[in-house]
Subunit: 378 residues, 2 copies
């Protein structure tokens, strides 16, 4: 028997309650019954995002909401600062260029968080930067960016800031209205414990003002159109019914646990994993500003892809490898969503067995012990 | 007990086998296991579309694939002929205008199919029409357009033709390569018996040639990028894993029945419904070229919305009302996907009871009898 555990930073495990909710017979999207579901989801999403604004729902992956942010905030010829600290930062830049927006790139060494001072320096030097695009967590490196500070820098220079919270929203607190985040987005397959296929996006007042004059072509990702529709508990195009019903269930589960407790659990499991990694003599890829969403670990002299393959195929524990320049050099363990302390402990166990086999020298059990100590203390 | 039946032209009923397949624990999209699923789906989709080309998979509703068609075939300033015979024809026109493409509109009376001669006349008069956009079935009116003939007219005038087959593909035969259809698209929630959230799109050689020089901005719906990826059984962004796993199951179900038998069943149930409608003294909205996807019926002196509401809330049988100019004047019954002859018979039964109550004069049972006679003869 090889039981399967999905410890990848997206898709993440989907709770049985959510799977079963989505497996119920489908209903039509233009009915009072479905409008009532959308109304409940709207309220829960506002709580999750910490906003009075509507949270728009798109049938797309998170990348779709990134495209929606660029296309609804800006016009061709506008300039935007893209914080590139990994593969997903690069994506902001690619989306800008694809839509005729000039990307001013701030490149950050992979594994490091952006320094607000560096952003300030670019904004002081470069003229007419209308928007800043960043991640909350750069999933490819496991780093957490200082969003609160970045918002302050952005507003000081009259720029809006759009935050890709695909591995941020629901992972840790990102109170949109309180911090003044102008655009916040996420996808369904991370902390929200759903299959991929839903993107969520909310705009603050500054962003809506820009949206009024934005000239990038848009149709499927037209935020103003969706914003009008969702206020009537409706959608411009066919709503992805099953995923939204799953979202209602997963948000309910999160609320039952309490959003703060969910964030605390992610943080605890991330700390336990980092302690374990240190105890078995491996180095963190993002030691200075690690995200509680996932832990990226340097594989040292070992092939990171081989660790991932063995963990998945021999041990039944799926983790993720490195992407692009980090490929083969790191592996990544998720803490998001439907992950409990024993999932974390057994992932460390499977990791210990795997790297021992590959010749890495450490005292077997040291990782699990360190993890359990953190968990017991938390 | 009020059992629910979904007889709307999308979403349609999802077979239990598909619901259960999608309810299995989720797997990661960058794994050999998922690539094997994508490879099987690729093969089945090529059979369904009747093409040697790849069929691209997008995490979006069908509208996303319409946007992808416009944005990958054309450039701002290009001219396109949009066949507007209902709400979805109008959508082609709106998408063109949103992306800077000049829409030359051929307006067709709602309930009528476009005449190939009328298209020919526009193409002879107007210069530089690069593409024709049409529906296979105009879902808002229930009409079926003559796609084979339209392809011939398009090619005679060196235009490509893109066909919205959202209520066409899997409903009746649309052999893409044999007829020379340049772009064919569909969505998941119709004949494919899935929840909404997946769009499928295939380009022929002429379309791929246009795609090379297309200058409309695109990123999420970049067909050339996805075409490269799918050949490696992969996707540019996170694949909508659950829906694709559902798609594999639903295509397998269709293949087990046989695609031709599926088309025959849709045709039989549509003919049975049309016979029933006539027998209870109601008129078809699209009598001259009705689609086997759905039957649109004039509600005469009765309020169409009231018929729909009563059918759904009192009888448990969900059908659809009219949209835009047809609102209140028609109702629409689906024949697509997981619908059998008894679903059709009981829909007629519920309709008879409903309109009798509303004072419509006819011999009770006449509709069911007419339907059963067609079914028995088929």
């Amino acid at each position: 028997m090889l039981k399967q555990y999905l410890m990848t930073p997206g898709p993440t495990m989907v709770p049985e309650r959510v799977l079963l909710a989505m497996a119920r017979p489908i209903i039509h999207h233009r009915t009072p019954a479905y409008s009532a579901i959308l109304e409940e989801v709207r309220g829960l999403l506002k709580e999750l995002f910490g906003t009075q604004q509507e949270v728009l729902i798109f049938a797309s992956t998170g990348t779709g909401a990134m495209v929606a942010s660029v296309c609804n905030l800006l016009s061709p010829g506008d300039r935007a600062l893209c914080i590139r600290a990994g593969k997903f930062g690069e994506r902001w830049s690619e989306i800008c260029e694809a839509h005729g927006v000039e990307a001013v790139n701030l490149d950050v060494e992979w594994g490091c968080a952006v320094a607000p001072g560096d952003v300030e320096a670019v904004l002081s030097k470069e003229k007419n930067i209308k928007a800043i695009f960043t991640q909350a967590t750069e999933t490819s490196t496991g780093v957490k960016h200082p969003i609160k500070e970045l918002v302050e820098v952005a507003h000081k220079h009259d720029a809006v800031i759009a935050v890709d919270g695909i591995t941020g929203v629901g992972v840790f607190d990102l109170p949109m209205d309180e911090w003044g985040i102008d655009a916040l987005l996420t996808g369904s397959q991370k902390a929200l414990m759903l299959p991929p296929g839903l993107a969520l996006l909310s705009f603050g007042d500054r962003a809506w003002k820009l949206a009024e004059s934005s000239k990038c072509p848009k149709f499927y990702f037209d935020c103003r159109k969706e914003n009008k529709k969702i206020k009537d508990n409706s959608s411009a195009y066919t709503s992805p019914v099953s995923l939204v019903i799953g979202l209602k269930e997963s948000l309910t589960i999160m609320k039952e646990e309490g959003f703060d407790k969910v964030y605390g659990r992610h943080d605890l499991l991330a700390r336990a994993t980092r302690a374990a990694v240190g105890a078995i003599g491996l180095d963190l890829y993002a030691p200075d500003s690690p995200s509680p969403a996932l832990t990226a670990v340097k594989s040292g002299s070992m092939d990171g892809q081989k660790i991932v393959g063995t963990m998945r195929d021999v041990r039944g524990v799926a983790i993720a490898g490195g992407q692009a320049q980090a490929k083969g050099k790191i592996f990544r363990i998720s803490h998001m969503g439907y992950v409990d302390r024993w999932n974390t402990v057994m992932t460390i166990a499977a990791l210990e067995q795997t790297i021992k086999e590959m010749g890495h020298s450490f005292e077997m059990g040291a990782g699990m012990k360190a993890a359990l100590e953190v968990i017991s203390g938390g």
